[in-house]
Every structure is written in structure tokens, then in C-alpha cells.
Subunit: 178 residues, 2 copies
């Protein structure tokens, strides 16, 4: 799938609206993916992301050890795969294979991109101070990719218990907010 570098200074505008994201990681034996909604921007540039990854998730230990991941933004076209990924564990299956997703080669981390996603953000863990108490990781985005072929990406937003909002209408209002 086509991909193009995306400016790091604009990454906040992708995550600030609150989409469900996929988090991919790489172990010695293979890649893994999880679904995540508990994330927030923490800095514009370099872009920093704070996120909660439960210690019950397979990804938790991989991220603690490798300190690298890719955060990908799926669109509604792959909503079913996204839910399947959230409903299964990488301890049991290779999710790229089971859900028919294509791992792509990242530049600065070993974790794979997900070719079917609109956005791929290569991330390094930079602060683990709140991991023991809140499972809260702070990441820095070191490289960002966009699929320029997706002109009107419809992102997915979790409202709990399998209920999702799909991004709707865009409005513009004169704002001094960055």
C-alpha cells in the first residue's frame, strides 16, 4: 500500500480526536497487535503520547522489554479486524496472519507497520514512571507515515461494550487552538 512521510508537527491532530488505534510490537518469535483507546497527546513536537496498556495484555511485557511499538490508525473498512484483534490474544495466534493484515517495515523501530491502516506512527517508550501504578506508558513518535490514497478516512471511536462511533462531518471554526 502507498505510504508517505507525515510531518511530526502535525501528528497531534490525528490522535487528539480520539480514534481507536492498533499497537503493534515485535518479539523474537513474531509480531503482535493489540487494540487501544486509552491514549492522549502529551506534547506537540516531538509528539509524545501517553497510553494505558493493561498488564494483562500480551503487549504489556513486550513493550516493557523492547521499548518500541507502532501505533496505527485503522478506518471503518477494517473495523471487523480491529474488533477481532481486541477479542484475541497474541499468546495464542499470530494476529497479522489470522486477520489478513500486512506487516510493513518500519525505519526506526523493529515493530511492524500495518499496511492496511491510514496512519502508522513509529514510537519509542521514553518514560515508564507511571507504569507500575497505572500501566501508563509515555511514547515519543519518531517517524510518521500516511496513506495518501485515503482521502476521507473515517476513523472509529469506542463508546464501550462493542459500540463504536464512526467519525462524521468536518466543521471549521476560527480557533487559536493549535
Amino acid at each position: 500500500m502507498p505510504k508517505k512521510l507525515y510531518p511530526l508537527s502535525k501528528v497531534y491532530g490525528l490522535l487528539e480526536p480520539g480514534p481507536v488505534v492498533l499497537v503493534s510490537t515485535q518479539t523474537k518469535t513474531g509480531p503482535n497487535i493489540m487494540t487501544m483507546s486509552w491514549h492522549t497527546m502529551m506534547e506537540f513536537e516531538p509528539p509524545m503520547i501517553g497510553c494505558v496498556i493493561s498488564s494483562r495484555n500480551y503487549t504489556f511485557r513486550i513493550l516493557k522489554t523492547t521499548r518500541e511499538c507502532v501505533i496505527s490508525i485503522p478506518t471503518v473498512e477494517i473495523a471487523k479486524q480491529m474488533v477481532g484483534i481486541g477479542n484475541s490474544s497474541g499468546r495464542d495466534i499470530n494476529k497479522f496472519e489470522v486477520f489478513g493484515l500486512t506487516p510493513g517495515k518500519a525505519k526506526l523501530v523493529k515493530a511492524p507497520l500495518i499496511d492496511e491502516c491510514y496512519i502508522n506512527l513509529e514510537c519509542k517508550v521514553v518514560d515508564t514512571k507511571l507504569v507500575s501504578k497505572y500501566n501508563f506508558f509515555i511514547l515519543e513518535v519518531v517517524k510518521a507515515w500516511i496513506n495518501p490514497a485515503m482521502k476521507s478516512p473515517r476513523t472509529i471511536h469506542h463508546q464501550g461494550k462493542g459500540r463504536f462511533m464512526v467519525s462524521g462531518e468536518i466543521i471549521k471554526l476560527p480557533s487559536k487552538m493549535k
Copy 2:
């Protein structure tokens, strides 16, 4: 405006989709409101919220001192007021008055509810460990209110620089995710 208690166990589903929220606080001289998009859930129950509030904002010092706020979720009907709140400072104006919003009485905090909002969450600051480095506050929601008259609330999601996505279609997919 009508309001009804909302179960604390369901609060995560309101913030997980990533809406722009308003943060109200109370000083000795009056109330204030700011606009915020950098927030994440951190725990289901009691619901905990992590959020970044810049030290340049008037709210930063109030929140550090009073350790209380109300997080309100506006809908598209008051998008213009929301942007006005983000474009001005409570150092200069009383935002409730200027933007024609109605302060409501909270039960467990001194900060006011915003009657025109769909949701009002009374919050206490419970952890300030990351405030000095990242302006990151951790809040506990101690009381939650919903306006039961709003049947299809359309929330607002910031994409940067005055561009907002309005929440769209709802889809249901069988998910084990909470």
C-alpha cells in the same frame, strides 16, 4: 436544564471516544472554563482521567491549588461557545457571562457544572506526580451527571487548528472489550 445521575461505571464510554471537553474551576473571585482535548481514561472504576493542562493556562494554577474541577462534554449546538472559550483567558473575562453559559451547583466539588453540556463530571485531583514534567494531572470522577433530554448527542473532536470532526454514525460489533 434537566440532569440525572449517571453511573460511574459507565463514564469511560463517554471520554474514550475522544470528545473536546470543557474544564470548569472555581476561584475565590469567580468561576472559569477552559477547552481541553488532551485527556485519556486511566481506570474504569472509580473512573480516573489523565489530562494535560498547559502551565500557560489560567486553569493550571487554579487546579493545582483547589484540586477540583468539573469536566463537561459539550455537543455541536454549543461548538461556537466552546471555541470562544478556547480563544480567551479567564484572567480577562468571566467566561460563563461572556458565552452565556449557566453555572450549576455540583454536589462534591466547588467548581460549577455547565448546564448547557450533555455530561458533567465532578472531579478531584488525585495524583500530581507528572505535573511538573508534563503538566499531566490525574483526576478521579466522584459524581457524574447526564442530561437525559439529549437523545442523540453529537460530540465535537478536534483535529487541530480550528478543524473539528462531529461524531457520526454508531455501529455495533460483537466485542469482548469493556
